[in-house]
Amino acid sequence: MKKTNNNNVFYDPSLAKRHRKAKVFKGLALSALVISLLFLAIFLSDMVIKGKSAFLQTYIQVEVTYNESTVKSYRKAIERKYLNLVSRSDIRDIPLKMKHDPSLMGTKKLQWILADDQVDMYMKEKYYKLKSKDLKALKNLIENNRVEMRFNTLFFTQGDSKIAENSGLASAIIGSIFTLLVTMAVAFPIGVATAVYLEEFANPDSKWSSLIEININNLAAIPSILFGLLGLSIFINMFGLPRSSPLVGGLTLALMTLPIIIVSSRAALRSVPASIRQAGYGLGLTKIQVVRDHVLPLAFPGVMTGSIIGLAQAMGETAPLIIVGMIAFIPDSPSSIMDAATVMPAQIFTWAGMPEKAYIERTAAGILVLLSILISLNALAVYLRKKFEVKWQ
């Protein structure tokens, strides 16, 4: 053994090196954590940077002529040099408007009209494609303060559209609401009933209840796309339910949400102490009465929390809905659960595949809307848990 300057027999000459290694190890662990948080930060800021511009939309002020030739062709309503600068979606309704309001005939008005997506891209300093004479006309308008950016209300009131500047999330939001209503109407009662059965009625050691339990665990781990295959071959092909409808989509999502609701409801039921049940039996209540009037109300906040988390997860799910056809181009909002519809994540997927650059910011904005709904739902779940949490002695 090498002689050291202190006489401690336990002195380990490699100690400094080992301590250095320990530091490096700790640094490694910390950097892993920092990297994963960095991913989150990069990801969220990327979405905000890409999406925030979609909340503003460009409008330009042009003179609209209401006369005979406008009725024949809406293209005559606007001066030729500005025609490529305005959105087709906004001026194509002008003849219809004149039909409803005959007093417009023969007048000329200075009006704010929705601008074409390329003009919008130019105003947002993004990649644009404008002919040089259109660009000149646009610069002229800008100098005269006839170009304005306004809050993009169309994004929340319009459905999908092939005209980028006219497309919005509205029909997808309605579709999501219908689909999730079906999901919750099916998954909530079945999930809670299953949890009540497993916790309060089934014999926990029996083969039967362990079979159900293994099953639920497996169900939670099956890839979501396979639920889509189930929906396609059973709900659509066997039962003949309408393709692309919120009914089929909602039923498919319900089966996926079931395990989440069951697991959290069971945990909530388990946390209700046995003394509550025993007191109920002591007063001569039947089992159903104890569960219905005492155990379930006490477990309810936990059940709600789990259901909201399940709802949030169902809301972001896309793959099974693509398989059951909820991805078609659907400009109008569905009016019942049997109509063809699309949902928010599917709308995001459709926009992401569009070739026009203007759809990129709409996709990112759609993502921001979806993420803020999901975060609020999760925050609501946390709030409910905190507010109604009962600490049993």
């Binding site: 059965y197 890839p223 395990p259 793959a319």
Partner: protein, 310 residues
């Protein structure tokens, strides 16, 4: 007392009915699993009646929708495997080291703020990750590869794999965190008392004890990566005939081909559509086996350390 009898009987009957309702609710979850299994199985059997099973597994030519459709899925499987491997290569070290930091080094304050943040990563819809992969990560990889004089595809396996890896970090980190926390403190104290440094304790004592749990978390993560659809549909390739191990090239996966087959304009009973169910069957079996092994490993770990809440 006699007037009580009928009412009592009615109550008994009501109780019976409610109990049957509860049992039938529980049966629905079982029906769902078997529904998935059989709906996929029957269509897959129909497919294998039309096309050869051995060629499906080993053949390398995939050409649905043509006059002489061939269904050899070997290139699809290899693409799935490589993208999953990239995802695990990203998620495993980051996930496990994050878990080590959170359970061994971090203060309670850090834990309570960081854990929900990591959970956000798990709650982001996959379609959003797909957009991120296709619009931000893939072009960045093309530029980076260009800088090194390499040629990368805009649908590279690397972009899809990395983003998928980010997505499954929380799967690995939260389960690993649980099992590392479950390793009894006496083991750590014993090791520290013998003069080991903290990192040596973690490397030689804690991690080996937690290994079954970490492996189980990894298996679960693999199963999640195999079944992930939106990221690969949006960011990975479509070409099902190309074998490659170069992560900069475009590759396709089982889930991409399922979506492609079912969103095309094929007849439902044509082999082109049914091929999706054959691929689905493979996916179902592989993920089911992974999940069962994962659950068994975690059960063993639980028994070893006599814990009940994992």
């Amino acid at each position: 007392m006699e007037s009580f009898q009928p009412k009592n009987k009615r109550t008994m009957l009501k109780e019976r009915i409610i109990e049957y309702f509860l049992i039938s609710a529980a049966i629905i979850s079982i029906l769902t699993t078997f529904g998935i299994l059989f709906s996929i199985l029957f269509e897959a059997i129909e497919f294998f009646n039309l096309k050869s099973f051995t060629y499906f597994i080993t053949g390398s030519h995939w050409s649905p929708g043509t006059d002489h459709s061939e269904f050899g899925a070997a290139a699809i499987f290899s693409g799935t495997f490589i993208i999953t491997a990239i995802a695990i290569a990203v998620a495993l070290p980051i996930g496990v080291f994050s878990a080590i930091y959170m359970s061994e080094y971090a203060t309670d304050n850090v834990r309570t703020t960081v854990k929900p943040l990591l959970e956000i990563l798990a709650g982001i819809p996959t379609v959003v990750y797909g957009f991120f992969a296709a619009i931000t990560v893939a072009p960045a990889i093309v530029q980076l590869a260009d800088f090194f004089g390499l040629d990368a595809s805009f649908n590279s396996a690397l972009a899809a794999g990395i983003v998928m890896g980010i997505m499954i970090i929380p799967v690995i980190s939260s389960l690993s965190d649980d099992v590392i926390n479950a390793v009894p403190d006496s083991l750590r104290k014993g090791s520290l008392a013998l003069g080991m440094t903290k990192s040596e304790t973690i490397k030689d004592i804690v991690l080996p004890s937690a290994l079954p749990g970490i492996i189980s978390a990894t298996l679960l993560a693999i199963s999640k990566a195999l079944g992930e659809t939106m990221i690969v549909v949006m960011a990975a390739g479509m070409n099902a005939n190309k074998f490659s191990i170069n992560p900069l090239e475009d590759m396709t996966t089982v889930t991409v081909q399922i979506v492609t087959a079912l969103t095309g304009d094929f007849e439902f009973n044509s082999p082109d559509t049914l091929s999706a169910f054959a691929l689905g069957l493979i996916l179902f079996v592989v993920t089911l086996v992974l999940n069962i092994v994962s659950v068994m490993m975690i059960k063993k770990f639980k028994e070893k350390y006599k814990m009940s809440n994992l």
